[in-house]
């Protein structure tokens, strides 16, 4: 039974007395179950007042007091309210907790009204989302006929018979009264004490205060709790209140960063992964999809760490190592720079392809173009609704469950056909937005989201760093294409199989904000489109770089200096170090084949060691090949001691063959000679008593048997007796 299904007239009548009590007395009354007695002395100077007001009975000895029976509902309600301080302490009590405290499961399901999907899944967050928006309040204020609104909420598909109840907004006056009360609450900057707002209610109002209050509370439109003084207060959800009274969005502040992060991290990561794989293939699980943990750790450790402040910021998705590794591997796969090779015993390994080596040999600009081209907004075709639908429902038909959608279709639809690989699942609601907009674009041949995206991001262009969070908040509110598309605000959707979803303005702001965040964190930061900075107060700020402008399609030439392949400065030092004075991934990949890695990109990247030369020799590399590679790469002549040592180390390598062999162990030399004579070319004598079987074992055994040489398990037979030989397999 609803917590709020009480006699409100009686409750409201008690409030003046309650207000007059000390806090200690209020605590004492609420601390005990209503029916329990409590020491009369604990009520102090309020005892008299409570006795006069007929709130208490005293025991015969006058030492203990008990609440009057008709006070129980009042106390029970207040005790319940004290458990869910949704207005006074929203941090500790979010709306979800409030709903759970005051509503049964069926009631909560009914709260979201006619949405069968939410009802079916009983999704608490979806219920909260449906109630926590200005539009849900506005919808209530806009009601002219409460019947349909109320019917579902009162009866509900899943409500038990006992919970079904009669209408709360039973007549037009009740509805107008509830709407008037809601307006009063929405006009307030803070929750209002129940007795105060009750006292303001006068005869000119359309209905009684209780008649207006009960439906608002029962439908979760207004919320009731106790403040710190244990006085009941009434209000609307704090986030809605803040939104109703928020100041207009400000232009983001200019920040002066103390540290910055720039560079095409995504390209660097891709190159690093390819170079690592050139040095040592990565072992995969048998499915050929997933790497073993050790390989993941190795590859992750190879990536240049992002500054901790970036990882801690909102942009973390683009900066943390697992995400970066995942992205680099997907990119490598998409660009066909890696493949799975089956090694010993069919074990799969991830290895670079020939295309990867060619890619690494290209100049930096060419490499960057190859990667960045995929993300350039103005060259990406708008994905049609059908294609998106296929993406959303891979291999699925009518049984598609939206919250299992593997991708964030907003990204896939509007940034790049490839970008979906970058996006983890981010909820199905946003997919509805994406889908609706795709429909819209299909009808109008316009690209409102992409245009809005370009316009928003372009505001970060220039030398100044703008506060990222302020910028994000501002753009969620203005220039938000989702808010501008009324289709998104409809309560009925066309593609969610189970019905529709209520998408509020708050959610649309949040989605656009998330969308911008994704584009920033997953695309522009990793690909050098944003330079990120942090100021002395640890505020993150951004500016759009020239590369970023290129990605947005605002300039034609990718602003990266052209470098000639092989023009890098590489020096081979007499102490066997190989120093790269500038990045040269092509040379790096080639040298990795015979040198030990010491660093990455620039600096002492390799050291030539005996072990590294022997390892190269073991896979067939010759000293002269290695020396020639170094000679080609090195800016100066190779030190003689290095060449001399390399040749020496390569020369020390010896190749032996290891194979399984079958041998015949003979009891004496004479038998061994006999076996050799019988076997002919099928055998080879290894020692006085041991003969190796080269081929044709069955024929040999037969022939030996015919000549009186039998295969047995021992070799103790005396020479005079029929000799026996033992065949064993050795490796």
């Amino acid at each position: 039974v609803s917590e709020f299904q009480v006699n409100w007239g009686s409750i409201l009548a008690r409030l003046p007395t309650w207000k007059g009590l000390t806090r200690e007395t209020r605590v004492t009354i609420l601390a005990h179950a209503a029916s329990n007695t409590r020491p009369a002395a604990a009520l102090g100077r309020d005892l008299e007042r409570l006795l006069v007001g007929h709130w208490l009975n005293l025991s015969l000895e006058k030492s203990r007091a008990q609440l009057e029976l008709d006070l129980y509902p009042f106390v029970r309600l207040l005790r319940a309210l004290s458990r869910a301080p949704v207005l006074s302490d929203p941090e500790s009590c979010p709306l979800e907790d409030y709903l759970r405290t005051h509503f049964t499961t069926e009631e909560r399901i009914s709260l979201v009204g006619p949405d069968p999907y939410l009802s079916y899944y009983n999704s608490p967050s979806a219920t909260v989302a449906a109630l926590s928006s200005t539009s849900s309040l506005q919808a209530f204020l806009g009601l002219s006929d409460a019947g349909k609104y109320e019917e579902k909420r009162l009866q509900g598909r899943y409500r038990s018979g006992i919970e079904r109840r009669s209408a709360l907004l039973r007549d037009h006056a009740s509805l107008r009264g509830a709407q008037a009360l809601l307006r009063l609450l929405m006009a307030e900057q803070a929750p209002v004490h129940l007795d105060v707002i009750h006292s303001r209610w006068n005869a000119t109002m359309p209905c009684t205060f209780a008649g207006a209050l009960e439906p608002l509370l029962s439908y979760g439109i207004a919320l009731l709790d106790l403040d710190d003084e244990l006085r009941p207060e009434l209000g609307i959800l704090p986030t809605i209140r803040q939104r109703l009274h928020r100041s207009p969005a400000r232009a983001p502040a200019v920040r002066t960063p103390r540290e910055t992060l720039t560079g095409i991290l995504g390209l660097e990561d891709l190159e690093t992964i390819l170079l690592e794989l050139s040095s040592e293939p990565a072992r995969m699980k048998q499915d050929g999809i997933e790497l073993f943990a050790r390989a993941t750790v190795r590859l992750g450790a190879a990536l240049r760490p992002s500054p901790p402040w970036v990882v801690r910021s909102l942009l973390m998705f683009g900066a943390n190592i697992p995400e970066r590794l995942f992205r680099a591997m997907v990119l490598a796969d998409v660009l066909e720079l890696t493949r799975v090779r089956r090694g010993d015993e069919d074990a799969p390994y991830l290895v670079p392809t020939d295309a990867a080596r060619a890619f690494l040999r290209q100049g930096r600009k060419e490499r960057a173009e190859r990667v960045l081209e995929m993300f350039r907004l103005d060259r990406i075709p708008v994905v049609g609704a059908d294609e998106l639908g296929v993406r959303l429902t891979p291999g699925r038909g009518e049984d598609f469950v939206p919250d299992e959608a593997p991708i964030d279709p907003a990204g896939s639809a509007y940034v790049s056909p490839r970008v979906f690989d970058f996006f983890p699942t981010s909820g199905w609601e946003i997919s509805r937005i994406a889908r609706t907009i795709v429909d819209l674009e299909a009808r109008t041949s316009a690209c409102p989201v992409r245009d809005a995206l370009v316009e928003a991001l372009s505001s970060l262009e220039g030398e100044r760093f703008l506060d990222w969070e302020e910028w994000l908040e501002g753009h969620a509110r203005s220039g938000n294409p989702f808010l501008a598309a009324p289709e998104l605000m409809r309560e009925t959707g066309s593609f969610v199989p189970f019905g529709s979803v209520h998408v509020s303005e708050e959610r649309l702001e949040e989605y656009w904000s998330r969308f911008l965040l994704h584009i920033a964190a997953q695309v522009l930061v990793p690909l050098g489109g944003f330079e990120v900075g942090i100021d002395e107060a640890d505020r993150v700020a951004l500016r759009l770089t020239e590369i970023g402008a290129w990605i947005l399609g605002r300039r034609d030439d990718l602003p990266i200096a052209t470098t000639e392949p092989g023009a890098a400065s590489i020096l081979v030092q007499p102490n066997f170090d190989i120093v790269f004075l500038s990045p040269a991934p092509g040379e790096e990949a080639a040298i990795a084949a015979f040198a030990e890695r010491r660093g990455r990109s620039v600096g002492t990247l390799f050291s030539i060691t005996r072990a590294s030369c022997l390892a190269a020799a073991s896979v067939g590399m010759r000293a002269e090949e290695a020396v020639a590679t170094l000679e080609r790469a090195s800016k100066k002549g190779l030190p003689k001691n290095v060449v001399s040592e390399m040749r020496g180390w390569f020369a020390q390598a010896r190749v032996v063959e290891m194979r399984k062999a079958e041998i015949i162990v003979c009891p004496d030399e004479e038998t061994a000679a006999k076996v050799v004579a019988i076997g002919g070319t099928r055998v080879r004598r290894l020692s006085e008593l041991v003969v190796e079987v080269l081929r044709g074992r069955p024929q040999l055994v037969r022939a030996m048997r015919e000549k009186g040489v039998f295969v047995g398990s021992g070799i103790q037979a005396p020479p005079a007796a029929a000799p026996s030989a033992q065949i064993t397999s050795r490796r």
Partner: protein, 571 residues
């Protein structure tokens, strides 16, 4: 567009310096102030920025922002943000804590409220603090001066020590214009400069610190110059008795001190005079591990005004402990490298003092103050029998078999003949082998068994040219001054010890008259485990910047002149 400078600053705090770059000297001079040199092979030198290197720079009076600006100007790529951030942080810390004298006591002044609170909460520091006399000031026991600095430095808060020094017993000392041996003598510019920086006009800003000079650059003379500045009784600690004698010889040769004002405190003599010399081994000697150090009270046996720590990178732990309690005395560390194998660089910084001067050896070589050196490794084949014995031997035995390869002997003879005019040292590890070589070549031998007097005689004979070559074991690794030795032939080493290589090479780096060229030959058995250890030496010497070549015995003489020429061109 970043400037195309000679430096590349990496995000792991390494700094690469391109030798062939036109602005190499600018880059090097900058790094000498603020970074530690890690290796200096032919093309690219590697330095490292560390908290200590930045504190050393700050101690020299450098400010962080100009330093970063200079680094950025000389760098090829923008400085990594983490490096800029950390260098700023390290730099900020220096100068925040100052130790001052307050009557008979000491006060620790802290230039920051938060830092004062942090120091007050440090367990390590609290035990040395008597009281907090003001929000940013702490009273410190005089006796805990060193330990407090040590603890705070360890915690990352370097202390600027301006508490001053005791004067010590006065000692009149002047450097001669002509040495006792009759040669003209004057301090070289860099020696004068280093001693001046140490003294700092007698203020509390000077008086303690470390001077870094390469082997053969005259560290002893810098020590004498500092003594002349301070004019006080001095305790000099060295690595060996031979080095003690060497110092005494220098004191007598280049100062006006009389022999009776110089004392030797070693195993043989226990003299305590206005200038007393001892060894680290002597001071840290004890009968049993459980006993106390009997001679450690030498620090208190006289009112020393200056203590000189020779080869400070070898300073043993007990000496650190004593040094912590004698912070009121001036302290001078002399070394060729600040890098310690035990990683106690911070203790050197806290207890001896910051680096006050360093001169790169290439500069000295170019000025002719130290000799040019050419390192040659000769791969000597083993006979078939020896090769088989080597192949079948256990790992440790293999090294000795290879080291004692008899085929090295004719090569030594050939090399001595080739460099007939040079004063030569044949250096080895195994005494049996050295004895055989000495007998075969009829050369005198110095090993650990050779008495001190005999050793001195032989060194003197070598210096005076009475003998041209000496076979020596590792007793000659440290502090033996044989100015004219220009040829070293190493027949066996100690499993590739870097310290040993540097010291052995240092024996022949004193400037030579004439071509000023020294030769260092290492004889290594071909295809043996000795090659593996030689690899470590090869790397090390290349990283020190020496030209290094590997030859077969047959190629040795043919390529010698040409290689020397090549080395000249490179350097």
């Amino acid at each position: 567009v970043p400037p195309n400078g000679p430096l590349i600053v990496l995000n792991d705090f390494q700094v690469l310096l391109e030798v062939d770059h036109a602005r190499f000297p600018d880059g090097r001079d900058l790094l000498l102030l603020c970074a530690e040199l890690e290796k200096a092979p032919e093309h690219v030198h590697t330095y490292r920025l560390t908290p200590l290197s930045i504190w050393n720079a700050r101690a020299l009076g450098l400010e962080v922002e100009p330093l970063l600006a200079d680094l950025a100007r000389e760098a090829r790529f923008p400085l990594p943000t983490n490096v800029v951030h950390d260098v700023r942080e390290w730099g900020k810390r220096y100068g925040k804590l100052t130790l001052l004298r307050e009557g008979d006591d000491l006060a620790l002044d802290i230039d920051d409220d938060a830092l004062a609170a942090e120091v007050a909460s440090l367990d390590l520091a609290r035990r040395y603090i008597v009281a907090r006399t003001a929000p940013r000031r702490f009273a410190v026991r005089t006796a805990e001066r060193g330990r407090l600095k040590q603890a705070l430095t360890k915690a990352g808060f370097p202390v600027r020590d301006l508490a001053g020094y005791t004067d010590g017993e006065p000692l009149a000392l002047a450097l001669r214009k002509d040495t006792a041996a009759g040669a003209a003598f004057a301090l070289r510019d860099y020696q004068l400069d280093a001693a001046g920086r140490f003294f700092a006009s007698g203020t509390a800003r000077g008086g303690s610190g470390v001077i870094v000079l390469p082997c053969g650059a005259g560290k002893t003379v810098v020590g004498l110059a500092c003594m002349q500045h301070v004019q006080t009784s001095t305790l000099i600690l060295t690595t060996s008795t031979a080095a003690v004698r060497q110092w005494i010889a220098e004191l007598l040769d280049k100062t006006d001190l009389s022999p009776d004002s110089i004392g030797e405190y070693t195993g043989l003599r226990k003299e305590i005079r206005p200038v007393t010399l001892s060894t680290y081994q002597m001071l840290t000697w004890r009968r049993r591990d459980s006993d106390s150090f009997e001679h450690l009270d030498l620090f208190d046996k006289r009112e020393w005004g200056l203590i000189i720590y020779d080869e400070v990178h070898l300073l043993p732990a007990p000496i650190f402990q004593v040094t912590a309690s004698i912070q009121a005395r001036r302290r001078l560390g002399l070394t060729a490298t600040l890098v310690r194998e035990d990683g106690l660089e911070r203790d050197v910084f806290a207890l001896i003092g910051p680096k006050i001067a360093e001169v790169p050896w290439k500069v000295l070589e170019r000025s002719g103050w130290i000799a040019k050196a050419l390192c040659t490794e000769v791969r000597v084949p083993m006979s078939r029998g020896l090769a088989l014995e080597h192949a079948a031997a256990e790992e440790r035995a293999k090294f000795r078999i290879a080291a004692e390869n008899p085929a090295k002997l004719p090569l030594i003879r050939e090399l001595l003949a080739r460099h007939k005019g040079s004063i030569a040292l044949v250096i080895g590890t195994y005494v049996d082998q050295l004895e055989r070589i000495a007998a075969e070549l009829e050369l005198p031998l110095v090993t650990g068994k050779t008495g001190e007097r005999r050793r001195e005689e032989l060194y003197r004979d070598l210096r005076e040219g009475k003998i041209r070559a000496l076979v020596v074991s590792k007793v000659a690794n440290h502090s033996i001054d044989l100015p004219d030795a220009s040829l070293a032939i190493q027949v066996s080493g100690t499993f590739g010890s870097r310290q040993e290589e540097a010291q052995r090479l240092g024996r022949i780096l004193r400037p030579k008259s004439g071509e000023n060229q020294a030769h260092f030959y290492a004889l290594v058995s071909k295809d043996s485990v000795e090659e593996v250890f030689a690899q470590a030496r090869q790397r090390f010497l290349c990283e020190q910047g020496y030209a290094y070549r590997i030859v077969a015995p047959g190629e040795l003489m043919a390529g010698d002149e040409r290689e020397a020429q090549g080395a000249e061109v490179r350097s």
